[in-house]
C-alpha cells in the first residue's frame, strides 16, 4: 500500500458567493487526478500554466478542499477540514522565495513560531531551529536575519527549514527552483534529494522543467488541462512517451545540444 495516495481528486473554482451571484463559469482545475508516492521517493508532476498542478499541490497539502476524492496518508483517510496535527504532517515549499517568508520577521522567529505551535518550549525550540538550519546547509547566523538580506537560494533553503519544523512526512514542493538562478538551483534540488533519503520523506515535486525532472525524480506524471495524461518511471516517459501532449512537451524543450559529458 503506497504511503501517500491522492485518489481521484477534483478541484473546482468559481463557486463563491452562493448567496449573491450564481456563477455558471466554474473552472475545473483538477479533474479526477490520482497519484501515489512512497517514502524516500520524489515524484515529479509536470505541466504548463493552467494544467492544474498548483491546485493539485494545494489540495494535497490541505490549503484547498477538493470537491471530491480522497487523500490518504499511511492508509489513513485525511479529513476534509484537517485538524492541526494532521496539517503538520504535510508541508509545502513555495515557488517564490520572496513571499514564502514573512519579510518583517527574522528566519529564526518564523521557525521558532512553528516549533512552538507544536508544543515545544522556547529554549528547545531555539536549539532545534539551529539544527534545522544546519540540516539545510545554512549557518545559524541566518536565524537572526530577515529574509530580505538573504540571496534567493538561501531564502529557499530557509523555506525548507521552515517546512521541516513540523516534522512532516510529506513535502510538496511547488516549483521551488523556478525563481532561482540556474547556478544555484542544484543546491536546493540536491538538498531535497538528500532530505528525502535521510528523513524518509515522500516528496511531490511540481515543475514545468522536464530537464530537472529527469535528474531528480524517479517517477513523473504529466498534467494537461487538469488531467494526468501520462504517468510512469521517468526513464520510460522520456524515452517512449505514449501521449501526444507529452511528446509535444518533450520536443519543445530547448537543450544545449553541444554540451558533452563522457
Amino acid at each position: 500500500m503506497p504511503f501517500l495516495e491522492i485518489d481521484d481528486v477534483c478541484v473546482t473554482y468559481g463557486r463563491l458567493n452562493r448567496f449573491v451571484r450564481r456563477t455558471d463559469t466554474s473552472h475545473v482545475a483538477v479533474n479526477h487526478v490520482s497519484l501515489t508516492a512512497e517514502r524516500r521517493q520524489i515524484v515529479g508532476v509536470v505541466g504548463e500554466s493552467g494544467s492544474g498542478k498548483s491546485s493539485l499541490a494545494k489540495a494535497a497539502v490541505g490549503l484547498i478542499v477538493p470537491q471530491s476524492g480522497e487523500i490518504r496518508l499511511g492508509g489513513e483517510v485525511l479529513p476534509r477540514k484537517r485538524p492541526v496535527e494532521v496539517r503538520r504532517r504535510m508541508q509545502m515549499v513555495f515557488q517564490d522565495p520572496s513571499s514564502a517568508l514573512n519579510p518583517s520577521l527574522t528566519v529564526g522567529q518564523v521557525v521558532v513560531e512553528l516549533l512552538r505551535t507544536g508544543g515545544m518550549d522556547r529554549t528547545t525550540a531555539r536549539s532545534r531551529a539551529a539544527d534545522l538550519t544546519d540540516m539545510v546547509g545554512l549557518s545559524t547566523s541566518v536565524l537572526d536575519v530577515k529574509p530580505g538580506s538573504l540571496s534567493g537560494g538561501q531564502r529557499q533553503r530557509a523555506s525548507i527549514a521552515r517546512a521541516l519544523a513540523t516534522n512532516p512526512e510529506v513535502i510538496v514542493a511547488d516549483e521551488p527552483t523556478s525563481s532561482l538562478d540556474v547556478s544555484v538551483q542544484a543546491t536546493v534540488l540536491n538538498l531535497l534529494r538528500g532530505l528525502a533519503d535521510s528523513l524518509g520523506l515522500a516528496v511531490i515535486f511540481i515543475t514545468h522543467d522536464l530537464g530537472v525532472v529527469r535528474r531528480l525524480c524517479n517517477e513523473v506524471a504529466v498534467m494537461h488541462n487538469g488531467r494526468v495524461v501520462e504517468h510512469g518511471p521517468t526513464g520510460s516517459v522520456f524515452e517512449a512517451p505514449a501521449d501526444a501532449y507529452t511528446r509535444q512537451l518533450l520536443a519543445s524543450i530547448p537543450t544545449i545540444s553541444a554540451v558533452t559529458s563522457s
Binding site: 449573491v20 497539502v61 496535527e85 496539517r87 509545502m92 513571499s99 518583517s104 505551535t117
Partner: protein
C-alpha cells in the same frame, strides 16, 4: 575605453504618456516640511497638556466691565465679548479641541482597523455584511449624518465621540480590508496555516504590522479633518458645549465684533490653521514613503 562621448541612443519606439510628465511636476514634502510639521504638532501637544496650568486667568471668569478690551499687558490678546481673557481661553481650548480630536480620530481608527482586518481575513458572509454596512454609511453625506446624529443624541463631548466613531470608522475599515485581502494570499500566510498557527496569531503577528502602516498614515491626516470638523461643529453650536473654551466657539462668539476686535477671530483661526497644516505635513510625508 573610457571614452566619455556618448551618442544619443536611438529611441526604442516608445512614447511618453502625459501621466508621466504630470507626475514629475508635483514635489513631495521634503524633510524640512516634515520637521516643521512635527515641531508644530509636538508644541501643540505640549500646549494641550500644560495649557490650563500656565493660563494667567481663569478662562471662564467673566468681567463685563472689561469686555472687548484690546490687547494690553494685562490681557495679551484682549478680552472677549463676556470679558474673559482671550489668551487664557485660547491655550485652554487647545486641550479641549486637540484632546477630543485625538480621541475622535483614535476610536474610529481602532474600530475600523479591527473590523476591516477581521472581515477581510475571514471573508465570505461576514465580509459581505461588513462591506454592505460600509457602503451604507458612505452613502450618506458625512456632515448631514453627523449633524443628524448629534441632533438625535443631544450635544456634549460624549455624543461627539460616539458620532465620530460611528461615521468615521469606515474609511479605516476599507483601507485595512484591502491591505489584508492582498496579504492573506501571500505564501507565508499559507505556510503559517499549514504549520498550525492559529488565526488570531496570524492576524496579530503577521498581518497587523503591515496593515498598521497604512492605517497609521491615514490616522494622522484624518486627525486634521476631525479637528476641522470638530471646530466647525462647535462654531455651529453643535460641538463642545459652552462655556468650555474651544476655538470654534470662540470664533462664533466673536463674530459680531469682527470689524473692531478682529484678533478675537484671528487668534483661534490661526491656531487651527497652524496645527492643521502641521498634521497635513506629517501625513503627506508618511504617505510618500
Amino acid at each position: 575605453m573610457t571614452d566619455l562621448i556618448v551618442d544619443p541612443p536611438a529611441k526604442a519606439g516608445r512614447s511618453y504618456t502625459s501621466g508621466e510628465v504630470v507626475a514629475s511636476a508635483r514635489k513631495p514634502v521634503g524633510r524640512f516640511g516634515f520637521r516643521f510639521g512635527l515641531t508644530i504638532v509636538i508644541l501643540a501637544a505640549l500646549l494641550a497638556i500644560v495649557g490650563p496650568y500656565i493660563a494667567p486667568y481663569n478662562p471662564n471668569a467673566q468681567d463685563l466691565l472689561v469686555r472687548l478690551a484690546s490687547p494690553s499687558s494685562a490681557h495679551w490678546l484682549g478680552t472677549d465679548e463676556l470679558g474673559r481673557d482671550e489668551f487664557s481661553r485660547l491655550i485652554v481650548a487647545a486641550r479641549v479641541d486637540l484632546g477630543v480630536a485625538v480621541l475622535a480620530a483614535l476610536f474610529p481608527f481602532i474600530l475600523g482597523t479591527v473590523v476591516g482586518a477581521v472581515s477581510a481575513y475571514f471573508g465570505s458572509i461576514w465580509d459581505l455584511a461588513v462591506t454592505r454596512l460600509v457602503d451604507l454609511v458612505l452613502s450618506f453625506p458625512v456632515y448631514v449624518l453627523i449633524i443628524s446624529l448629534i441632533a438625535i443624541a443631544g450635544g456634549g463631548i460624549r455624543t461627539l465621540l460616539i458620532v465620530f466613531t460611528v461615521v468615521d470608522w469606515v474609511q479605516y475599515a476599507r483601507l485595512v480590508r484591502s491591505v489584508v485581502l492582498r496579504l492573506k494570499n501571500e505564501d507565508y500566510i499559507s505556510a503559517a496555516r499549514l504549520g498550525g498557527v492559529s488565526h488570531l496569531r496570524i492576524l496579530v503577528r503577521h498581518l497587523w504590522p503591515n496593515a498598521m502602516r497604512s492605517s497609521l498614515t491615514l490616522l494622522v491626516t484624518d486627525m486634521m479633518y476631525v479637528l476641522l470638523g470638530l471646530v466647525s461643529l462647535s462654531y455651529l453650536g453643535l460641538g463642545i458645549p459652552p462655556p468650555t473654551a474651544d476655538w470654534g466657539g470662540m470664533i462664533a462668539g466673536a463674530q459680531p465684533y469682527m470689524q473692531q476686535q478682529w484678533w478675537l477671530i484671528a487668534a483661534p483661526g490661526f491656531m487651527i490653521a497652524l496645527i492643521g497644516s502641521g498634521l497635513m505635513l506629517i501625513g503627506e510625508r508618511l504617505d510618500a514613503r
